[in-house]
Symmetry: C2
Subunit: 136 residues, 2 copies
Amino acid sequence: MMEKAEEILKVKGVNPTAVRILVLRYLLEHLKSQSLKDIEEGLMHTDRSSIFRSLKTFEEKKVVHSIEDGSGMIKYAVCPTGCNCDPQDLHYHFYCTKCSYTYCLLDNPIPIIKLPQNFKMQRANMVVKGLCNKCS
Amino acid sequence: MMEKAEEILKVKGVNPTAVRILVLRYLLEHLKSQSLKDIEEGLMHTDRSSIFRSLKTFEEKKVVHSIEDGSGMIKYAVCPTGCNCDPQDLHYHFYCTKCSYTYCLLDNPIPIIKLPQNFKMQRANMVVKGLCNKCS
DNA sequence: TTAAACTTTGCAATTGAGTTGCAGTATATT
DNA sequence: AATATACTGCAACTCAATTGCAAAGTTTAA
């Protein structure tokens, strides 16, 4: 039986190479979205630029989507089944300015935003910054 | 009569030095929030680190507030009268992924976000990315 | 089955924004 | 004026992201 990571790559039309499988498997194993650096540190023997390029390929083929969560680093998360990387698949993030931890605020829906005529939304990053319960 | 920039600095308790007056004047002359680079290019004979430190001082003394608008660069805008740099003073931004222009979406209020117990909001950056009318 | 073409990878180097150390200059204080 | 304090400019550094390039791996086609 084929491994999940490989399965996903195949379905999304991405050639399942060694690095790509490792990167995707790493993302699947972690609930929270991960930065390039997180992945680099998790996969200690894999080159950063190879991971970087895997992530770019994944993004293009909608295997993952990227998130700006206020940390200053781009984070990546595996697209859930049926995800079309639309804002409704997203949620607010809370970034603690003291401990630098990012929380997902899953209880708040992202409202529908009225855009001017002929503006097309592709993605949204909604970040609240402040102090978390441990730091305030 | 004292110039506006100087006036503001005096009121906010910031020593009105040459660089600071130039930086604040530059921000006052531009409706859109400006990045460090924008200001550096606007004030061609002023050192980047001096501008940078002016902005940090301004932020600390609530002369300006900073905004992450999706461009990847921190932008600065003069605090309007009565601004306490709270989320309600902010608005959504729309960043066009093709032409890299940032629009302010002034028609959409930022909703009240329910935070978990003991979380304190300091600031919010709400960015929608996509294609603007000229690029779609 | 071997050569050519294409893809992927690892390393090193570069970019770009932000930030800091330090010494010189300017301003304020006594 | 002498000293202390604040500000500025330059150069250097950080840190994440990104690119160039050649080597290694894989696929295609003669």
